[in-house]
Protein backbone atom coordinates (compact mmCIF):
# COMPACT_ATOMS: atom_id res chain seq x y z
CA UNK A 1 0.00 0.00 0.00
CA UNK A 2 1.29 3.48 -0.88
CA UNK A 3 1.53 6.19 1.75
CA UNK A 4 -0.70 8.42 -0.40
CA UNK A 5 -3.59 5.93 -0.10
CA UNK A 6 -3.28 6.00 3.69
CA UNK A 7 -3.17 9.80 3.73
CA UNK A 8 -6.34 9.92 1.61
CA UNK A 9 -8.26 7.18 3.43
CA UNK A 10 -7.56 8.55 6.91
CA UNK A 11 -7.57 12.28 6.00
CA UNK A 12 -4.10 12.84 7.40
CA UNK A 13 -2.59 16.29 7.20
CA UNK A 14 0.83 16.15 5.55
CA UNK A 15 3.25 18.52 7.31
CA UNK A 16 6.23 17.96 5.02
CA UNK A 17 5.24 19.35 1.60
CA UNK A 18 8.26 17.95 -0.24
CA UNK A 19 7.84 14.39 1.00
CA UNK A 20 7.47 11.41 -1.27
CA UNK A 21 4.07 9.82 -0.73
CA UNK A 22 4.65 7.09 -3.28
CA UNK A 23 6.60 5.15 -0.64
CA UNK A 24 5.44 1.61 -0.02
CA UNK A 25 4.12 1.04 3.49
CA UNK A 26 4.85 -2.51 4.65
CA UNK A 27 3.18 -2.36 8.06
CA UNK A 28 2.89 -0.24 11.16
CA UNK A 29 4.32 0.32 14.60
CA UNK A 30 3.08 2.35 17.55
CA UNK A 31 5.25 3.48 20.48
CA UNK A 32 6.32 6.66 22.25
CA UNK A 33 9.59 5.23 23.57
CA UNK A 34 12.07 5.90 20.81
CA UNK A 35 14.46 3.25 22.08
CA UNK A 36 11.65 0.73 21.61
CA UNK A 37 11.04 1.92 18.05
CA UNK A 38 14.75 1.50 17.27
CA UNK A 39 14.59 -2.03 18.67
CA UNK A 40 11.31 -3.26 17.23
CA UNK A 41 10.07 -1.34 14.20
CA UNK A 42 10.75 -2.67 10.71
CA UNK A 43 11.74 -1.12 7.41
CA UNK A 44 8.74 0.36 5.61
CA UNK A 45 6.56 0.62 8.71
CA UNK A 46 4.49 3.71 9.26
CA UNK A 47 5.06 4.86 12.85
CA UNK A 48 2.32 6.24 15.09
CA UNK A 49 3.50 8.41 18.02
CA UNK A 50 2.86 11.54 20.03
CA UNK A 51 6.54 12.44 20.38
CA UNK A 52 7.46 15.57 18.39
CA UNK A 53 11.16 15.96 19.22
CA UNK A 54 13.51 16.04 16.21
CA UNK A 55 14.95 12.66 17.24
CA UNK A 56 11.82 11.02 15.75
CA UNK A 57 13.21 11.87 12.30
CA UNK A 58 16.59 10.34 13.09
CA UNK A 59 14.94 7.17 14.37
CA UNK A 60 12.66 6.93 11.31
CA UNK A 61 15.64 7.43 8.99
CA UNK A 62 17.72 4.86 10.91
CA UNK A 63 14.98 2.24 10.69
CA UNK A 64 13.99 3.27 7.14
CA UNK A 65 10.38 3.80 8.15
CA UNK A 66 7.94 5.00 5.50
CA UNK A 67 6.55 7.85 7.56
CA UNK A 68 5.47 9.20 10.94
CA UNK A 69 1.88 9.86 12.00
CA UNK A 70 1.54 12.26 14.94
CA UNK A 71 -1.67 11.79 16.92
CA UNK A 72 -3.95 14.10 18.90
CA UNK A 73 -3.19 17.07 16.60
CA UNK A 74 0.37 17.23 17.95
CA UNK A 75 2.31 20.08 16.39
CA UNK A 76 5.80 19.02 15.30
CA UNK A 77 8.62 21.31 16.42
CA UNK A 78 10.04 23.50 13.58
CA UNK A 79 13.42 21.71 13.89
CA UNK A 80 11.65 18.38 13.49
CA UNK A 81 9.99 19.46 10.25
CA UNK A 82 13.25 20.88 8.92
CA UNK A 83 15.07 17.61 9.63
CA UNK A 84 12.18 15.62 8.14
CA UNK A 85 12.41 17.56 4.88
CA UNK A 86 16.19 17.04 4.80
CA UNK A 87 15.93 13.32 5.49
CA UNK A 88 12.89 12.76 3.26
CA UNK A 89 10.75 11.42 6.10
CA UNK A 90 7.05 12.24 5.64
CA UNK A 91 5.34 13.58 8.77
CA UNK A 92 1.56 13.49 8.94
CA UNK A 93 -0.83 14.64 11.64
CA UNK A 94 -4.23 13.35 12.70
CA UNK A 95 -6.68 14.70 15.25
CA UNK A 96 -7.40 11.12 16.34
CA UNK A 97 -5.75 9.50 19.37
CA UNK A 98 -3.31 6.63 18.79
CA UNK A 99 -5.88 3.90 19.58
CA UNK A 100 -8.26 5.16 16.88
CA UNK A 101 -5.68 5.73 14.16
CA UNK A 102 -4.01 2.37 14.76
CA UNK A 103 -7.43 0.67 14.52
CA UNK A 104 -8.03 2.32 11.18
CA UNK A 105 -4.58 1.41 9.87
CA UNK A 106 -5.25 -2.19 10.88
CA UNK A 107 -8.61 -2.08 9.10
CA UNK A 108 -6.79 -0.94 5.96
CA UNK A 109 -4.82 -4.17 6.14
CA UNK A 110 -1.57 -3.04 7.77
CA UNK A 111 0.05 -5.37 10.29
CA UNK A 112 3.09 -5.17 12.55
CA UNK A 113 5.45 -7.56 10.81
Amino acid sequence: MKLQEIVDSLSLEVKTPSSDLTKEVTGGYVSDLLSDVIANSKEGHVWVTLQTHQNIVAVAALRELSGIILVNNKIPEPETLKKAEEEGIPIMVTSLPAFEIVGRLYALGLRCR
Partner: protein
Protein backbone atom coordinates in the same frame (compact mmCIF):
# COMPACT_ATOMS: atom_id res chain seq x y z
CA UNK B 1 44.99 21.80 45.56
CA UNK B 2 41.58 20.16 45.04
CA UNK B 3 40.36 17.77 47.72
CA UNK B 4 37.54 15.24 47.56
CA UNK B 5 33.97 16.02 48.62
CA UNK B 6 31.42 13.19 48.62
CA UNK B 7 28.20 14.18 46.88
CA UNK B 8 24.78 12.61 46.42
CA UNK B 9 23.13 15.00 43.99
CA UNK B 10 19.66 13.52 43.55
CA UNK B 11 17.55 13.04 46.67
CA UNK B 12 13.76 13.31 46.89
CA UNK B 13 11.89 14.55 49.95
CA UNK B 14 8.36 13.72 51.10
CA UNK B 15 7.19 16.43 48.69
CA UNK B 16 7.58 13.97 45.82
CA UNK B 17 4.41 11.86 45.64
CA UNK B 18 6.37 8.67 44.98
CA UNK B 19 8.66 9.26 47.95
CA UNK B 20 8.52 7.73 51.43
CA UNK B 21 6.87 9.98 54.02
CA UNK B 22 9.94 9.58 56.27
CA UNK B 23 11.94 11.57 53.72
CA UNK B 24 11.72 14.76 55.75
CA UNK B 25 14.48 17.37 55.46
CA UNK B 26 15.53 16.70 59.07
CA UNK B 27 15.90 12.94 58.57
CA UNK B 28 17.58 13.33 55.19
CA UNK B 29 20.20 15.65 56.66
CA UNK B 30 20.75 13.36 59.68
CA UNK B 31 21.22 10.39 57.35
CA UNK B 32 23.53 12.29 55.00
CA UNK B 33 25.63 13.43 57.96
CA UNK B 34 25.86 9.88 59.34
CA UNK B 35 27.16 8.71 55.95
CA UNK B 36 29.76 11.45 55.80
CA UNK B 37 28.30 13.09 52.70
CA UNK B 38 29.60 16.63 52.17
CA UNK B 39 27.18 17.74 49.47
CA UNK B 40 23.59 16.74 48.71
CA UNK B 41 21.04 18.06 46.24
CA UNK B 42 17.31 18.02 46.90
CA UNK B 43 15.51 17.24 43.65
CA UNK B 44 11.77 16.79 44.01
CA UNK B 45 9.53 16.32 40.99
CA UNK B 46 8.70 19.70 39.45
CA UNK B 47 8.89 21.56 42.79
CA UNK B 48 11.43 23.08 45.20
CA UNK B 49 9.16 23.70 48.19
CA UNK B 50 11.23 21.62 50.65
CA UNK B 51 14.60 22.92 49.46
CA UNK B 52 15.08 25.97 51.66
CA UNK B 53 14.42 24.16 54.94
CA UNK B 54 16.80 21.36 53.94
CA UNK B 55 19.49 23.89 53.10
CA UNK B 56 19.25 25.47 56.54
CA UNK B 57 19.36 22.13 58.36
CA UNK B 58 22.23 20.92 56.21
CA UNK B 59 24.25 24.06 56.85
CA UNK B 60 24.11 23.39 60.61
CA UNK B 61 25.70 20.00 59.93
CA UNK B 62 28.34 21.43 57.61
CA UNK B 63 26.67 19.91 54.55
CA UNK B 64 26.12 21.92 51.40
CA UNK B 65 22.57 21.23 50.13
CA UNK B 66 22.32 22.41 46.54
CA UNK B 67 18.84 23.59 45.44
CA UNK B 68 17.58 21.22 42.78
CA UNK B 69 14.51 20.10 40.91
CA UNK B 70 13.75 17.06 38.76
CA UNK B 71 11.76 18.41 35.85
CA UNK B 72 9.57 16.27 33.59
CA UNK B 73 9.88 17.56 30.03
CA UNK B 74 7.16 17.33 27.37
CA UNK B 75 8.89 14.18 26.07
CA UNK B 76 8.62 12.73 29.61
CA UNK B 77 12.38 12.91 30.11
CA UNK B 78 13.61 13.64 33.63
CA UNK B 79 16.10 16.50 33.76
CA UNK B 80 17.75 17.45 37.04
CA UNK B 81 18.34 21.18 37.37
CA UNK B 82 20.83 22.30 40.04
CA UNK B 83 20.88 25.98 40.97
CA UNK B 84 23.37 28.24 42.72
CA UNK B 85 20.81 29.65 45.14
CA UNK B 86 17.23 29.37 46.34
CA UNK B 87 16.11 32.51 44.45
CA UNK B 88 17.05 30.98 41.12
CA UNK B 89 15.35 27.75 42.12
CA UNK B 90 12.14 29.58 43.04
CA UNK B 91 12.09 31.51 39.78
CA UNK B 92 12.59 28.29 37.85
CA UNK B 93 9.78 26.71 39.86
CA UNK B 94 7.42 29.56 38.85
CA UNK B 95 7.97 28.72 35.19
CA UNK B 96 7.59 24.99 35.81
CA UNK B 97 4.30 25.56 37.68
CA UNK B 98 2.98 27.74 34.81
CA UNK B 99 3.72 24.95 32.36
CA UNK B 100 2.85 21.89 34.43
CA UNK B 101 0.05 19.63 33.29
CA UNK B 102 -3.10 20.99 34.95
CA UNK B 103 -4.92 18.90 37.51
CA UNK B 104 -4.90 18.15 41.20
CA UNK B 105 -2.81 15.44 42.83
CA UNK B 106 -4.77 12.31 43.63
CA UNK B 107 -3.19 11.33 46.94
CA UNK B 108 -4.74 7.86 46.87
CA UNK B 109 -3.25 7.11 43.48
CA UNK B 110 0.10 8.93 43.54
CA UNK B 111 0.88 9.62 47.20
CA UNK B 112 1.10 12.65 49.47
CA UNK B 113 3.08 15.78 48.57
CA UNK B 114 4.07 17.07 51.98
CA UNK B 115 5.68 20.41 52.76
CA UNK B 116 7.39 20.28 56.16
CA UNK B 117 9.43 22.49 58.47
CA UNK B 118 12.78 21.86 60.15
CA UNK B 119 11.26 19.76 62.97
CA UNK B 120 9.17 17.43 60.80
CA UNK B 121 5.92 19.34 61.29
CA UNK B 122 3.55 19.33 58.32
CA UNK B 123 3.11 22.84 56.93
CA UNK B 124 0.80 21.79 54.11
CA UNK B 125 0.23 19.68 51.07
CA UNK B 126 1.15 20.64 47.55
CA UNK B 127 -2.02 20.12 45.47
CA UNK B 128 -0.41 20.31 42.03
CA UNK B 129 0.01 17.31 39.77
CA UNK B 130 3.74 17.05 40.44
CA UNK B 131 3.83 13.55 38.95
CA UNK B 132 2.72 15.05 35.60
CA UNK B 133 4.77 16.48 32.74
CA UNK B 134 5.40 20.05 31.74
CA UNK B 135 4.63 21.16 28.19
CA UNK B 136 8.22 22.40 27.74
CA UNK B 137 10.57 20.48 25.45
CA UNK B 138 13.85 19.11 26.76
CA UNK B 139 15.72 21.75 24.73
CA UNK B 140 13.68 24.53 26.35
CA UNK B 141 14.13 23.09 29.85
CA UNK B 142 17.91 22.86 29.46
CA UNK B 143 18.09 26.43 28.12
CA UNK B 144 15.87 27.65 30.95
CA UNK B 145 18.04 26.03 33.63
CA UNK B 146 21.07 27.70 32.04
CA UNK B 147 19.30 31.07 31.94
CA UNK B 148 19.09 30.90 35.74
CA UNK B 149 22.79 30.04 35.97
CA UNK B 150 22.07 26.41 36.74
CA UNK B 151 23.37 23.04 35.67
CA UNK B 152 21.28 20.64 33.59
CA UNK B 153 21.79 16.91 34.11
CA UNK B 154 20.02 14.11 32.26
CA UNK B 155 18.70 11.94 35.11
CA UNK B 156 19.18 8.14 35.25
CA UNK B 157 20.12 7.73 31.59
CA UNK B 158 20.21 3.95 32.12
CA UNK B 159 16.47 3.84 32.87
CA UNK B 160 14.18 3.18 29.92
CA UNK B 161 11.21 5.06 31.31
CA UNK B 162 11.87 8.79 31.88
CA UNK B 163 15.54 8.43 30.89
CA UNK B 164 16.60 10.52 27.91
CA UNK B 165 17.91 7.60 25.86
CA UNK B 166 14.81 5.50 26.51
CA UNK B 167 12.47 8.32 25.56
CA UNK B 168 14.46 9.79 22.65
CA UNK B 169 16.52 6.83 21.43
CA UNK B 170 19.79 8.75 21.85
CA UNK B 171 21.04 12.04 23.24
CA UNK B 172 20.77 14.80 20.62
CA UNK B 173 24.30 16.11 19.97
CA UNK B 174 23.18 19.74 20.08
CA UNK B 175 21.53 19.45 23.51
CA UNK B 176 23.65 21.46 25.95
CA UNK B 177 23.60 19.08 28.93
CA UNK B 178 26.24 19.67 31.61
CA UNK B 179 26.37 16.09 32.86
CA UNK B 180 24.76 12.66 32.64
CA UNK B 181 23.55 10.83 35.73
CA UNK B 182 24.00 7.07 36.06
CA UNK B 183 21.63 5.46 38.54
CA UNK B 184 22.39 2.78 41.12
CA UNK B 185 20.69 0.18 38.90
CA UNK B 186 23.75 -0.30 36.73
CA UNK B 187 27.44 -0.67 37.58
CA UNK B 188 29.86 1.97 36.36
CA UNK B 189 31.75 -0.68 34.37
CA UNK B 190 28.57 -1.71 32.55
CA UNK B 191 27.61 1.92 32.01
CA UNK B 192 31.02 2.70 30.51
CA UNK B 193 30.49 -0.02 27.91
CA UNK B 194 26.82 0.67 27.27
CA UNK B 195 27.13 4.45 26.96
CA UNK B 196 30.65 4.76 25.56
CA UNK B 197 29.50 7.13 22.83
CA UNK B 198 28.80 9.66 25.60
CA UNK B 199 32.14 9.26 27.39
CA UNK B 200 33.17 12.78 26.32
CA UNK B 201 30.51 14.22 28.67
CA UNK B 202 30.87 14.51 32.46
CA UNK B 203 29.13 11.71 34.36
CA UNK B 204 27.90 11.58 37.93
CA UNK B 205 26.23 8.85 39.95
CA UNK B 206 23.44 9.71 42.37
CA UNK B 207 21.11 7.68 44.55
CA UNK B 208 17.77 9.12 43.30
CA UNK B 209 16.76 8.28 46.89
CA UNK B 210 13.03 7.90 47.55
CA UNK B 211 13.54 6.52 51.06
CA UNK B 212 16.14 7.02 53.77
CA UNK B 213 18.03 3.79 53.17
CA UNK B 214 18.61 4.78 49.51
CA UNK B 215 20.60 7.89 50.41
CA UNK B 216 24.25 7.55 49.45
CA UNK B 217 23.82 4.04 47.97
CA UNK B 218 25.89 5.54 45.18
CA UNK B 219 27.65 8.89 45.28
CA UNK B 220 30.14 10.96 43.34
CA UNK B 221 33.55 12.27 44.38
CA UNK B 222 33.96 15.94 43.55
CA UNK B 223 37.55 17.18 43.69
CA UNK B 224 37.37 20.92 44.34
CA UNK B 225 39.25 23.66 46.14
CA UNK B 226 36.28 24.16 48.46
CA UNK B 227 32.63 23.22 48.58
CA UNK B 228 30.69 25.69 46.46
CA UNK B 229 28.42 25.71 43.44
CA UNK B 230 31.02 27.52 41.31
CA UNK B 231 33.67 24.97 42.24
CA UNK B 232 31.21 22.19 41.33
CA UNK B 233 30.71 23.75 37.88
CA UNK B 234 34.50 23.90 37.42
CA UNK B 235 34.87 20.29 38.58
CA UNK B 236 32.38 19.16 35.92
CA UNK B 237 34.52 20.90 33.33
CA UNK B 238 37.72 19.44 34.81
CA UNK B 239 39.43 22.80 35.24
CA UNK B 240 42.80 23.20 37.04
CA UNK B 241 42.95 19.76 38.60
CA UNK B 242 39.33 19.75 39.70
CA UNK B 243 37.51 16.62 38.63
CA UNK B 244 34.58 14.28 39.07
CA UNK B 245 35.24 10.68 40.17
CA UNK B 246 32.68 7.89 40.04
CA UNK B 247 32.59 5.10 42.61
Amino acid sequence: MPVEFRADLHIHTCLSPCSDLYMTPYRIVEKAASLGLNIIAICDHNSVENVDVTRKLAKEKGINAIPGIEITTAEEIHIVGLLADIDGALRLQDIIYENLQPGENDEEAFGYQVIVNEIDEVLGFNKRLLIGATRLSVTKIVDMIHSFGGIAIAAHIDREGFGIIGQLGFIPSDLRLDALEISSRISIETARKKFKEYSHMPWITSSDAHNLSDIGRVSTGLFMNHSSFDEFCLALQGIDGRKVMLD
